[in-house]
Symmetry: C2
Subunit: 216 residues, 2 copies
Amino acid sequence: MSTIPSESLLTQLKWRYATKQFDPTKKLDAATWAALAESLVLTPSSYGLQPWKFLAVTSPELKKALRPLSWGQAQVEDCSHHLVLLGRTGLTEVDLDRFVNATAATRGVTTESLAGYKGFMMKDLIEGPRSKTIAEWAARQVYIALGQLMTSCALLGLDACPMEGIDPAGYDKVLGLEGTGYTTRVACPVGYRLATDKYAALAKVRYAVKDVVEVR
Amino acid sequence: MSTIPSESLLTQLKWRYATKQFDPTKKLDAATWAALAESLVLTPSSYGLQPWKFLAVTSPELKKALRPLSWGQAQVEDCSHHLVLLGRTGLTEVDLDRFVNATAATRGVTTESLAGYKGFMMKDLIEGPRSKTIAEWAARQVYIALGQLMTSCALLGLDACPMEGIDPAGYDKVLGLEGTGYTTRVACPVGYRLATDKYAALAKVRYAVKDVVEVR
């Protein structure tokens, strides 16, 4: 166990903000990036299916190509790692088998022993009513990853800026995603804030707990 | 600053799992619940609009009524706080004004000075193409909250079990949400695992970093 005091969590959640200006000279070191990548992989998902991929764009050329597809925002170029979160565009039995095989290998059990679990997923995701909105289901899972990513960054002292204002189709083209079964859902540049970013000092605007959280 | 070592983050992300058995005798104390509620409110959202509410069901009667709408899962009754995450069903200028007014009050500026920002949101969310899928946009924001919630729980040593397998319409009826402009998107019971929950000991199944995260 390596839990933290709730004061640390809240302090860091208040410290974070949608960073407008990154320091272009500051990059994540290899160990920090490795930890962040591992935290992304550890994101929970429905059934554990992980219907996503995460691209970390660090190439200046690629960043430059993505910036005009991101409302021209400078963070795309000035950040350290411009993360692009991709969701599966569909789901087939192949996805389930991949996961069932990974589960069997990780846990040292037979795939046959997981047949019931697979059948359950088949009925829900592939044959059931959810199959009609499966791309959106995958997109929502990607947003779990976005949430975990922003929280992880805050705790590690990294800055981030969630970006929905991007052209997903344009991103897919630039990143060569067409036909891969994955599509751009949201982006999130990560790096270190510029000391002079005036947005860092603005008071965070949140509705009161009493207006948002209700105990019943 | 109150950052944590990446080892702590990863240890806790590995410690968490979709809890199958909660200890029904263990409840969050008031301070822990207050911190968790505040962490929920601090969740980032698109434009900062917070198109959500969070219900924490602790009443045994309500939990009992929600259990059959949750594939009969025992966690609904045995957890401490059964969290139900709600998303806005639509978005109007009223939502924007609420947020603009809150921003003006928090930051000590006039609402007039925020007219540009409001106009930008109007064009994107209320009048633009995104207006057609605005409920889904709100649902995705709710999943950011789900991600932050699960990460926060892990760091605080709280157990959680994300639940998509619920009947949202049934939840809305039981919780009296019809006509409120909010709808059930996902649930997440929170509490403390039972020491004998065998799922806690199962190896976590995640695809390799090299298969999920790509640096370009």
